[in-house]
């Protein structure tokens, strides 16, 4: 069965750890990475990208790429300013980064070009996520706002002028910096869940642009994860507890309880560890992967509420957790499965060029799309003789086409020729017979005369 990998990075320079979720085995450790929260992404499973924490003296930021099978950094980019969160759409076409100045940058992965840069917030951007259908970008900032951007609008200058502002929604409910954002299923009816230093998590409606629920926690929440059934969500607190808060309960849909301390919180997962820094769900929707300040990554089973696995990452806080399908490049090389790896298998995937510092796009630059090869082994093998033959038989039956009549003609010609030969033959035979008879007759007469004699 296909394994999943847990990828974790920390704010101190401890590299990126990578473990098989089921096997528990550690794969490569990718070196020299010290990432800010939300600064680690897997770009469509092709490679890893992470923004870097840098000392305040350097003016430019840093984003590094690693390919799956090499521990060293392969591509280094230096954006115009320090980038905190990174996000990437599911196709891996674009990488979005949020700068400390509040600007949001959008790069094209294939060429590294900076396609757009816009002023998103007044304070540093803290988190960036794509909506489920990849058409919206949701950003959170230290200024406490959560904003929803339509990517189409970002690229549509005419539309911007008509609308007057770039964002679709700007949620200003949080009083202190936003720490994490997740978004759920449901397309246009999805919810957006944001957590903040103000000890609250807020649930926003994408469809209506309103606040649906406000949940107050006893501790600052640094990370949230949404249960795939959106029944509850998990909030990792600075007090080391993972709070379980319900989303769709009607029990509390009562006016009295709206702001009650601890309301909607229906339980905790806790093992007395240090502050929770990051959360991620495994694909099965039951295993919650938790990165903690003590440098450990713990896997909880949310059904039984037990810790089922612990990975040791570093001494520093694990502030990024990514859980994903194991990329093909991480499968061990064995003689047996070399052939069935498909096109993405063993071949080393070349990494894209570094991300641009300043945009080189002007009116005349080409914005091309790339078509990546697909395996065509399924559609090409069609045999056509039978079909063609049946068509020809049809034609023959109808005696309609020139081809059919031509063939008929040919056949008749040959028939005719053969008949002519036959005629010749018959003629010859007749002549022979005739001669023979005549001869016989003459001879016979002779014989008869002999007899008579």
């Amino acid at each position: 069965m296909e394994d999943e990998v847990v990828i974790a990075s920390s704010s101190i320079e401890a590299g990126i750890g990578c473990w098989g979720l089921r096997s528990g085995a550690e794969h490569l450790r990718y070196r020299s990475c010290a990432s800010p929260p939300h600064g680690l992404v897997s770009v469509a499973g092709r490679f890893l990208a992470s923004s870097q924490l840098r000392d305040s003296s350097s003016s430019s930021g840093s984003v590094l790429f690693w390919s799956w099978n090499k521990p060293q950094v392969e591509v280094k980019s230096f954006p115009a300013e320090a980038i905190n969160p990174l996000a990437c759409n599911s196709d891996g076409t674009y990488i979005v980064g949020g700068g400390v100045s509040g600007h949001i940058y959008l790069w094209e992965v294939a060429t590294g070009r900076l396609l757009k840069k816009w002023h998103g917030h007044y304070r540093p951007v803290t988190c960036l996520v794509f909506s489920n259908d990849q058409s919206l970008l949701i950003s959170g900032s230290e200024d406490g706002t959560v904003r929803v951007w339509s990517l189409l609008m970002i690229f549509d200058e005419e539309g911007q002028q008509r609308a007057g502002h770039l964002y679709e929604y700007s949620f200003t409910g949080h009083a202190l910096p936003v720490t994490d954002i997740v978004t759920g299923y449901g397309g246009s009816n999805a919810i957006i869940l944001s957590s903040s230093l103000d000890r609250t998590c807020k649930v926003w409606s994408l469809a209506r642009g309103t606040l649906l629920r406000n949940i107050v926690f006893p501790s600052i929440i640094d990370a949230v994860a949404l249960d795939p059934g959106e029944h509850v969500f998990y909030a990792g607190g600075r007090d080391g507890k993972i709070y379980i808060a319900e989303l769709n309960a009607q029990t509390t849909s009562n006016n009295n309880n709206n702001n009650n301390y601890g309301l909607h919180i229906i339980g905790t997962l806790s093992d007395q560890s240090k502050a929770i820094c990051s959360l991620g769900f495994a694909l099965d929707g039951f295993q919650l992967v938790v990165g903690s300040e003590d440098g450990m990554v713990r896997v909880w089973d949310t059904k039984t509420r037990n810790i089922i696995r612990v990975f040791k990452h570093a001494k520093g806080p694990v502030n990024n957790i990514v859980v994903m399908r194991q990329p093909a490049a991480l499968y061990p090389r064995t003689a047996g499965n070399n052939n069935n790896q498909g096109p993405m298998g063993r071949r080393h995937v070349a990494l894209p060029p570094p991300l641009e510092k300043y945009s080189s796009i002007d009116e005349h630059s080409e914005l091309n799309a790339f078509i990546t090869p697909r395996s065509n082994s399924y559609d090409a093998t069609t045999y056509t003789t039978l079909q063609s033959m049946n068509n020809q038989i049809n034609e023959l039956q109808q005696h309609g086409s020139s081809g059919a009549s031509e063939m008929e003609l040919e056949r008749l010609k040959l028939d005719c020729k053969r008949s002519m030969q036959m005629v010749q033959q018959w003629k010859k035979m007749y002549q022979n017979l005739n001669q023979f008879c005549v001869g016989e007759l003459l001879n016979g007469e002779g014989d008869e005369t002999n007899l008579m004699l």
Partner: protein
């Protein structure tokens, strides 16, 4: 063979060699016999295919040894007989032999194929070099060879052999294509197969192949089927070199040829500036244009061919473009989106009208001819757009605004049914590909156009309401789009097929973005769809059409029901207004057993079941005896409660729900210190739960996660308590965060009145207040930009 040597049954392996032998004896002619009725051949082939007579697949056991021998000799005999037929000088027998040999390539065992394919290849090649007399023989020979190469291409270790064999075919095949006859059909197919499986065999003849294909495309007077195949050939051709540049060069050449031809044909119909702009996009100033496509110079392409020819050639070349986009290529290629879009835009902008600013330079007859050909060009342009969206997907983002403008503009002008259907299909795809973001852009236009298409000529007697609606929408558009006054208004009766396409577009719109900012249009669309569906279905259910191409009334019914389901399921704020009518329609439709409609109605009822009995299923099976831990800090674990509650959410579970509540009272006491509040809470909630099912109050635009409708009085009654709690919280909690929250609650309590007591934050008033605190980019309410 003994007369009573029976086989077990029709699955018996022993039957197969015997069957094959008897076929050879009776139906396949030998040297002396004439070919009988060709129909018999197809019977033989079908028997071979059903029984696998040539497969020689037997378990290798000792018992089977004799059988294996028998079968092997039978197949040997079969092959020998066929080879004899192939070399026969009678064309019909030769043809039969070639065809049956082609079937053998597909059916025989791998061992046999690998052992003797080169012999077979030589035999067939002898009919192509020099070419045989008979047309049938040539075509079937090409087709059989194509099957041989297809089979050979399936063996990964035969690439080299295959390539060398295929290389021998290239010259004769190109010659066949060049010859002006209908023989090219098989030859083109063979060329496609070569390019698919052994592309490198064409490396040396790349230019001559390109020339041959292009010449045939331009001058060949081929039928559409043949054109498609030739276009496929041309788009596969770059594979023979297999690098990115070849592909890019090819599409650049095609685009250039299209533009040159367009310059010629559209003279006098479009502004000159357009022309030079597109050419500049294709060949940037300072760069040399590529060699002309297929070696045909500008002169060849435009001047030599008459006007008539050139327009058909444009459509042919556009077909090549879209085939190139959709055909898979071994390496990653760069698609020149901008030039492609410019061609599309150029074509779609020409509708045959003469620009007012220009002195007419073309005769009425020329205009007439162009008008007859334009729909074809438009259709191909839309096709190219579709392919771009399909292939480029998310990479299209920088261009999407351009495409949207192109499409909406065209949607307003386009009147021909066929093109409108295509256009709706395109819109559907755009909505699917870009989801929510796209609905924000397209909703208005799609709805206004689709409602016009669905309303303007109602087949079953019109009503007064459609006209009003149409007017309203027109106003809406002209209000929004001041710059263009063109409004789609079909002059003729709208065919059913267009209505089906319009319904499809609405369905997708509701599926993808039914909830987002839909307040302005949802109720109208919902009403439109229920009216269309009831009207479509009121005269009973139509029979399913046998004809695939012309949509019938039955298809319309199905489309209307599909759209209706989307309208019922698409998230809204209250119970869908037409739920009962919808359910009735689906129930009726489900009776039509054996039709697609019934299948769909069953699916619809299943989907709606969740709407009627909302589920919030527990994570864990409550029946299981897993013990859930009590948390360390004294918080009672409420998971169980939640589970029970969730199962009690169902509307029907009134009593069980009360039980659940009472069980939990003591749990609650620990949570909520104020016992008084608790009691009141329970009573109000029961009241709400009962009344919610019967009362659907007006939608106040407030967010509730699980929709429960509130009753205003209840809310008012509880308002005081709410404010009290909110204030208390604000004071006791301390800290900036709580302060803000508390304050905002007061605002809610004061200004809102009633109706909203579940989640009181986030309405516009409050948002404004919050915006004052934190400076904003532009102080426009995010919700109000569309109005």
């Amino acid at each position: 063979m003994a007369a009573f040597d029976h086989v077990q049954n029709m699955y018996d392996v022993a039957l197969k060699p015997r069957l094959l032998r008897s076929f050879i004896k009776e139906l396949i002619p030998d040297e002396k016999q004439q070919l009988g009725n060709p129909l018999e051949l197809s019977q033989v082939v079908s028997a071979i295919k059903t029984h696998g007579l040539l497969s020689e697949r037997v378990a290798q056991t000792d018992d089977n040894k004799k059988l294996i021998e028998k079968w092997k000799s039978a197949v040997d005999l079969w092959v020998d007989r066929l080879l004899m037929l192939v070399s026969s000088n009678m064309p019909d027998k030769c043809w039969a032999g070639i065809c049956l040999l082609g079937v053998t390539f597909e059916e025989c065992s791998s061992e046999r194929f690998l052992a003797s394919y080169s012999v077979w290849f030589q035999k067939l090649l002898s009919h192509l070099q020099p070419p045989a007399e008979s047309h049938f023989v040539k075509v079937s020979c090409c087709v059989s060879l194509s099957d041989l190469l297809t089979r050979l291409g399936g063996f990964p270790n035969m690439k080299k052999d295959g390539t060398s064999h295929a290389a021998k075919l290239v010259q004769p095949v190109l010659k066949l294509i060049q010859e002006d006859s209908s023989d090219a059909e098989g030859a083109v197919r063979l060329l496609c197969t070569i390019l698919n499986f052994f592309p490198s065999s064409l490396q040396k003849n790349y230019d001559s192949a390109e020339a041959a294909i292009v010449t045939k495309l331009i001058y060949g007077k081929c039928n559409p089927n043949m054109l498609k195949k030739l276009a496929l050939c041309l788009s596969l051709l770059p594979k023979s070199k297999g690098d990115e540049d070849t592909w890019s060069l090819m599409i650049q050449k095609i685009l250039l040829a299209i533009n040159i031809l367009l310059n010629d044909s559209f003279q006098g119909l479009e502004e000159e500036s357009k022309t030079s702009e597109t050419m500049r996009a294709l060949v940037p100033p300072g760069k040399d244009p590529p060699a002309p496509l297929g070696g045909l110079t500008v002169f060849d392409l435009s001047n030599k061919s008459t006007e008539r020819l050139s327009i058909t050639n444009i459509s042919t070349l556009m077909l090549c473009c879209s085939t190139m986009l959709t055909t898979s290529y071994p390496v990653r290629v760069k698609v020149p989106i901008k030039p492609l879009l410019m061609v599309v835009e150029r074509v779609l902008n020409v509708d045959g009208s003469l620009p007012q600013t220009m002195y007419p330079t073309l005769t009425a007859m020329q205009q007439e001819y162009i008008c007859t050909q334009l729909p074809v060009l438009h259709s191909y342009s839309l096709e190219i757009l579709c392919d771009i969206i399909k292939e480029a997907r998310s990479q299209l983002l920088p261009h999407t605004a351009h495409i949207i403008r192109l499409v909406t503009e065209y949607l307003r002008r386009c009147e021909l049914p066929e093109l409108r259907i295509k256009l709706y299909g395109l819109i559907k795809m755009m909505l699917m590909s870009m989801g929510v973001g796209m609905t924000i852009y397209l909703a208005e236009d799609v709805i206004s156009n689709a409602s016009i298409d669905l309303d303007s000529t109602r087949v079953h007697g019109g009503e007064a309401q459609p006209m009003n609606k149409k007017r309203k929408h027109e106003n809406a558009i002209s209000f929004l789009e001041n710059q263009s006054q063109i409004i789609y208004s079909p002059k003729n009766h709208v065919p059913v097929s267009v209505k089906i396409a319009a319904l499809g577009a609405l369905e997708t719109l509701l599926t993808v973005g039914g909830a987002l900012r839909s307040e302005s249009w949802r109720s109208n669309v919902d009403q439109l769809l229920i009216t269309v569906a009831t009207d479509a279905c009121k005269n009973g259910w139509a029979k399913e059409a046998n004809d695939v191409y012309t949509p019938s009334w039955g298809d319309f019914q199905l489309a209307s029901l599909r759209a209706l389901l989307a309208s019922l399921l698409s998230p809204g704020r209250f119970r869908p207004a037409y739920l009962a009518q919808g359910l009735e329609l689906f129930r009726g439709g489900m009776q039509e057993t054996g039709t697609k409609l019934a299948e769909f109605c069953a699916h619809a009822l299943l989907s709606l079941e969740v709407l009627i009995h909302p589920r919030a299923l527990p994570l864990i099976d409550i029946g299981s005896s897993v013990e859930y831990p009590v948390n360390v800090n004294g918080m009672k674990d409420k998971f169980m409660k939640n589970n029970i509650y969730s199962s009690g959410v169902t509307v029907t579970g009134g009593t069980s729900r009360n039980e659940a509540e009472s069980e939990e009272d003591d749990l609650y006491e620990k949570w909520v210190k104020d016992g008084e509040n608790e009691i009141e809470k329970n009573t109000t909630e029961n009241a709400v739960s009962i009344e919610a099912t019967i009362n659907v109050p007006e939608d106040k635009g407030k967010g509730i996660l699980v929709e429960t409708q509130s009753v205003e009085e209840t809310a008012l009654k509880n308002m005081e308590t709410e404010v009290e709690v909110a204030v208390a919280k604000g004071v006791s909690g301390g800290g900036a965060a709580n302060d803000v929250v508390g304050r905002r609650f007061e605002t809610v309590g004061g200004s809102e009145g009633g109706g909203e007591f579940v989640f009181a934050l986030g309405d516009n008033d409050n948002e404004d207040a919050a915006m004052d605190e934190i400076p904003d980019i532009v102080d426009v309410e995010p919700d109000s930009d569309e109005e």
